[in-house]
Symmetry: C2
Subunit: 293 residues, 2 copies
């Protein structure tokens, strides 16, 4: 139990952290720091937070600080809180890339660096804002922590226990591993979906093409409806891992292009068969049910 | 109304054609020609067809012949039926690629070529076999006909009216257009989904990667669970259009790779924004509701 939990950025994620912290008795007092001024009255009215305070005031006697504002404000917020954090306070973030956050923390967290635990809850990006916050948002979901050499084991344990109390499954891994994993299984598919829709949309016969797109296209391209700004930021924040994952995929496509070009049907079928088995095994192992088509 | 409708290959598509033909009174007598011997007793028992006959006997007094067997048997079946077709019989197929079917028809349909109408009903590939056949399979679905210069207008009209009576929306276009449209909106996404799953499955850390794959990956990769043999055949049958669509996509990826590499965030966001708008417009225009995530 934290005596004072401070949430900087009370949107979907920050608001849900606040709701579950209250619900599960993880914090005595929850204070919000606004990044989007308009949302704070909602957060107060809904009882998501107990009070709104300016950054320095909020963190001065905080026990735990969640950085849940847009990642683009990370440097500025770290600079603003570092001089005011008490010596025992732990700090964590919820950014979906970690190498850039670690770099920012090393540059701007000063003496508080050992008590900063880089984190990534894998939950909900379809809706946003505090009105979408839910106390069960993290239930059964993965949270990845990427402590670095400087991070104190006690700080990591404290944040891990907080997330476990929220019902999440907590893993630890190096930030480089985290960034490549998510570049590959999340960021890359988003980029590939955007790229296909863009390729079709730019064609002179786009209307004809879209007119015959069916359920396969629908599911493949769903994530191309995601926020352009968020995905631009993720692509750039996770640049090294994105380029690594994208290059590997481009090599795979070049290989398949060559197999089609030279009519090597057996090798093509064996790739498809291997992929199909892996997809079916994944869906069964991780209990992912495909929707009706 | 056809007096004798012959279905060669009584599986999901052929069986559904038979069911709706009977249901809507489009044929007096429906005869099946077996390609997969085991399915014919089911087709007879279910009343999908009235009789099973050998190829030559079946087509000798046919009014309409549906080629609904696997596309790999097209050449052989065309050769087998061409000498026996009566002068008035119309013939159509249900293959999902059309350039290769047109080439096969020109080579093997002989004098019957003007009465062969290349067709592609866009319906159901998830299940297969006559047990999955349904009389509403084509209701509201697109059927594309790709008549060539040699095709008689009367034959095309006869097949178009048949499909309209099945509740389908019938379009006509050149086979080259058909093949590029479906390479782009259907075949390419399948290939891209297979390629991503294959790329991950071949990594030494595949288990870790798959362990963090979530709903975005799930929907993107659903079609990687499709039949490897079917998609190998489609890739090869539609080779010129597939290579054209894949190359265009590869250029799009190379462009995006470059934008990430050089940190051109504005251009990246503008691609994502343009794609997002197109995706949302498509889903609204074509009434495609995304599943819950």
């Amino acid at each position: 139990m934290f005596d004072k939990l401070v949430i900087i950025g009370v949107g979907l994620i920050g608001g849900s952290v606040a709701l579950i912290a209250r619900h599960a008795g993880l914090a005595r007092r929850i204070v919000g720091v606004g990044c989007d001024g308009d949302a704070m009255p909602d957060a107060l009215r809904l009882g998501v937070i107990d009070a709104v305070e300016p950054t320095a005031t909020a963190v001065r006697n905080a026990d735990c600080v969640f950085l849940a504002m847009p990642v683009g404000q990370m440097t500025e917020v770290m600079r603003a809180i570092a001089p005011h954090l008490p010596a025992h306070a732990v700090v964590t973030d919820v950014g979906s890339t970690k190498g850039d956050i670690v770099a920012a923390a090393r540059a701007h967290m000063g003496n508080a660096l050992p008590r900063f635990v880089p984190g990534h809850p894998i939950a909900g990006a379809e809706k946003s804002g505090v009105l979408a916050a839910r106390s069960d948002l993290f239930k059964g979901k993965n949270v990845v922590l990427t402590p670095v050499a400087e991070t104190s084991a006690a700080a990591t344990q404290s944040i891990a226990e907080f997330w476990q109390a929220c019902g999440a499954r907590v893993s630890e891994m190096p930030h480089q591993t985290h960034d490549l994993v998510f570049a590959t299984v999340s960021h890359l598919p988003h980029l590939l979906a955007f790229a296909l829709v863009e390729e079709i949309a730019n064609r002179p016969d786009a209307d004809l093409m879209f007119g015959f797109a069916a359920s396969g296209f629908r599911d493949f391209s769903r994530i191309a409806g995601s926020s352009p700004e968020m995905w631009r930021d993720i692509c750039l924040a996770n640049r090294p891992a994105m380029l690594q994952a994208l290059s590997a995929y481009q090599r795979q496509l070049a290989r398949i292009h060559d197999l089609i070009d030279t009519g090597r049907g057996d090798e093509l079928a064996s790739i498809f068969e291997h992929a199909r088995t892996a997809r079916i095994t994944w869906a069964r192992t991780h209990n992912k049910t495909d929707g009706n088509t």
